[in-house]
C-alpha cells in the first residue's frame, strides 16, 4: 500500500552534485530495481527516500503526502543494508524486535510478530543467537526479518545479496520474490546483478551519473532501450557496438557502412533522426548472431577465445569492423582459437544509435 512519487529530487554533497534531478513514480506493490554503474547514485537515491539523507531540492510523496520533512522512522519504510547492519550485541530476537520495542508495542504482540517472521524466514531455531554465530545467508534473513516485523509500506534493499555466494544468491533471490508476493508491499531494490534485475523487477530504473536514463519492464529495456547507455548496460554479456557512417537514407531505412566497408541496411520508422554522413553506432547483442549465412550482413574476424559452457558457447572475435566482438551460440559450437569466422545478424532485430547515443527507432 504505497505509491511513491519523487519529483525532481536533487542532492549535492558540498559542491559535488550527485543527483542533478531525478523524477520517478513507483506504484503500489511494485518491485522496482535500481541499476547503474558504481557511484551513479543508486544508494544515494535510496537513502534520500529512506530519510537518511536530506534532499537538496525536490519533493518525495508517499500515498500523496509529502514525507521529505519526516524522520526516517515516520515514513513507514524499512531498509535492508548491504552490510546487514545487525546490532552485534543483540540476539536475533532482539534485533528483530528492536523497532517494535522502541515503539512500545505490547510484549505479546512483539513476540507474535517475531515468531511469525522467524517462521517465514526459517530462523526460529536461531532466535537466541548473536549475529556473530550466524552464516551470511542467515544474517541476511535476519536483516530481512528485522524489516518484516515492522510491517512497512515500503521495503528498501541496498545490494542485499552482494555478500553471498552464487548459490545462496539464487536461493535468496527467489525467497525475496516470494516474500514480495506474500507481503504485497512496495519494494525498491538496488543491485549490480543483471540477473537479479531482470528476474525480480516489475520495473527497472537505469541510473547513470545521477540521472535516470530509462525505466520500464525488464524486457522492454532489453528489447527496446532508449539509448546506447541502457542498451549497453542491460543484457549480459553486453551488447556489441560497431562504429559506422550513414551512407544513404530513404523513407524506411538507413544504410550504414561499418569500418570494414560492410554495408548494413537498418530499417526504421524515423530515419530522419540521422543524416547522410553522420557517425552512428550499430548495436548487436551476442545472442543475435547466427552462423546461417545467407545474405544477411556479416561480421568477420579471428577467434581469439572460446568459452564452452556445454549448453552454450561464447566466441570472442577480433573483428575486422574494429572491435572485440562477443558471439553467443546455442550448444557446443565447433570452433577453435585462430579460426576465421563470419557471423551474420538480422539488422531489423538490432539497434542503431545516433551521434548523441539516442536510439534511432
Amino acid at each position: 500500500m504505497a505509491h511513491i512519487v519523487m519529483r525532481d529530487v536533487q542532492k549535492r554533497f558540498g559542491n559535488v552534485e550527485v543527483i542533478p534531478g531525478a523524477s520517478l513514480e513507483i506504484k503500489d506493490n511494485e518491485f522496482v530495481v535500481f541499476v547503474g554503474p558504481s557511484g551513479c547514485g543508486k544508494s544515494t537515491l535510496l537513502r534520500l527516500l529512506a530519510g537518511l539523507e536530506d534532499l537538496t531540492a525536490g519533493a518525495i510523496e508517499i500515498d500523496g503526502e509529502r514525507v521529505d520533512h519526516l524522520s526516517p522512522s515516520r515514513r513507514g519504510l524499512a531498509m535492508v543494508f548491504q552490510s546487514y547492519a545487525l546490532y552485534p550485541h543483540m540476539t536475533v530476537r532482539e534485533n528483530m524486535s528492536y523497532a517494535l520495542r522502541v515503539a512500545r508495542t505490547p510484549k505479546a504482540e512483539v513476540e507474535a510478530k517475531v515468531r511469525e517472521a522467524a517462521e517465514i524466514l526459517q530462523l526460529t531455531e536461531y532466535l537466541d543467537r548473536k549475529p556473530k554465530a550466524l552464516s551470511g545467508g542467515q544474517r541476511q534473513r535476519v536483516a530481512i526479518g528485522r524489516a518484516i516485523v515492522r510491517d512497512p509500506k515500503v521495503f528498501l534493499f541496498d545490494e542485499p545479496l552482494s555478500n553471498l555466494d552464487a548459490k545462496l544468491r539464487v536461493q535468496m533471490r527467489i525467497e525475496i520474490t516470494k516474500l514480495h508476493r506474500r507481503l504485497k508491499a512496495t519494494m525498491i531494490y538496488v543491485t549490480h546483478d543483471q540477473i537479479e534485475a531482470m528476474t525480480m523487477a516489475d520495473k527497472i530504473v537505469v541510473l547513470n551519473e545521477g540521472r535516470i536514463e530509462q525505466m520500464g519492464a525488464p524486457l522492454d529495456l532489453y528489447n527496446d532501450p532508449d539509448n546506447k547507455f541502457v542498451a549497453g548496460f542491460i543484457g549480459s554479456p553486453a551488447m556489441n557496438f560497431f562504429d559506422g557512417t550513414v551512407t544513404a537514407r530513404d523513407d524506411a531505412a538507413l544504410t550504414v557502412e561499418l569500418s570494414d566497408k560492410t554495408k548494413v541496411v537498418y530499417p526504421c520508422a524515423n530515419p530522419g533522426q540521422a543524416g547522410v554522413g553522420d557517425a552512428v553506432t550499430l548495436g548487436v547483442r551476442p545472442e543475435n548472431f547466427h552462423f546461417d549465412g545467407g545474405d544477411e550482413p556479416a561480421i568477420k574476424g579471428e577467434v581469439y577465445a572460446v568459452e564452452r559452457l556445454g549448453g552454450e558457447t561464447y566466441l570472442y572475435l577480433q573483428s575486422t569492423a574494429g572491435h572485440e566482438t562477443v558471439v553467443h551460440a546455442v550448444g557446443d559450437h565447433e570452433v577453435a582459437v585462430g579460426d576465421q569466422v563470419a557471423v551474420n545478424f538480422n539488422p531489423a532485430r538490432n539497434h542503431l544509435f545516433d551521434p548523441q547515443g539516442r536510439t534511432i527507432r
Binding site: 537518511l52 526516517p72 522512522s73 515516520r74 552485534p88 522502541v102 515492522r150
Partner: protein, 318 residues
Amino acid sequence: MTAMTDADFRRAIRARTLRRNLWLAFLLLPPMAVMFIFIFLPMGSAVLYSVYEWDGLVRGDFVGLENFREVLFEPQKSKFLFNAFKNNVIVFVSVMVVQNGLALVLAMLLAREPKGYRFYQVVFFLPVILSTVIIGFQWKLFLNPVFGLVNNLLRAAGLDSWALPWLGLPETALPSMILVNAWHWVGFPTLVFLAAIHRIPKDYIEAARLDGASEWRIARDIIWPLMAPAVTIIVVLTFIGAFNWFEIPYVMNGLEGAPGYSTDMLGLLFYRTAFGSISATDSDFGAGSALAVLIFLFIFTVSLIFTRLLTAREIELA
C-alpha cells in the same frame, strides 16, 4: 646439483625458525630489560624492604610481616590507611561519574560533528597536554580565598556567600580537586570515547534510526554497548589513576592531605611514610614499603577483576 632430502628441508625450516626466534628475542630483549630494571626490580625490592625494620635508610632486623601488621591493624596507623583508602574510593567514584560522564556526553555531542567540532575537540584536549603540576598550581591560585579568580568572580556576581575557602574546608577541598582533575583530564576519555564512537559502523546507527529509535535510545541501546572496549580501558585507567592519585592533591594541599586529612590519598600516605615530610614526619622505609606492596597488590587485583568483568561485556564489531 644434488636434490634436497627431507632432512635437508627440515633443517632449513629449523634454521628459519631459529632466525625468526632470534630476531624476536632481539626485539623483545630491550623492553624486557627495561621492564625488569624499572618494574620488577623496584617491586621486588619493595617486597624485600617491607619485611625488615628500618632505621632511616639503614636496614635492621628481619621482622616478617610486622610492618604489614602495623599499617593494617594498629589503630593509630591504620586509621590513616583507611581514611586515605576511603578518599581514593571517593575520587574513583567521582571521577567516574563527573569526569568520565562528562567525557561521554561530550564525545556523543562531538560525534555528531556540530559546527566547529574540531575546534572544541582541540579545546577539550588542550589541558591534557599541560603539566599536572602546573595545573594544580594554577588552580590553587584561582581558588585562593583572598585573591583567587574564582572567589573574585563569585563576589563580582554578588554571590559573596559562595566565596568559600574552597581548598581549606574539609567539605569542599576534595570536591574542588576532583573538579580540577576533571578539567585537566576530561579531554582524554572524551577522545577515547570519540574514537570508539567513530569506530562503530554508521549502518548500525542508521538502522536504529530507521527502527524509530530517538537520539537518546540510539546512544543508550546502540552506541553505549558498542563502546564497551573503550569503556573498559577508561574504567581501568581511571581506577589505576584514582588509586595512584598524587600530583594534584600534593601540589594543591600538600603531603598531609590538608585540611585534617580530608584530601589524604594512599599515594601521599605512602610517600610521607617512606620518605618523610619535612614538616611532620621522618622516613620509615619498612612501613612505607609495606604500604607500597599493599597498594600495588590492591590496584593489580582490582584492575584484573575489572578487566575480566568488563571484557566479558565487550562485543566484537562485525
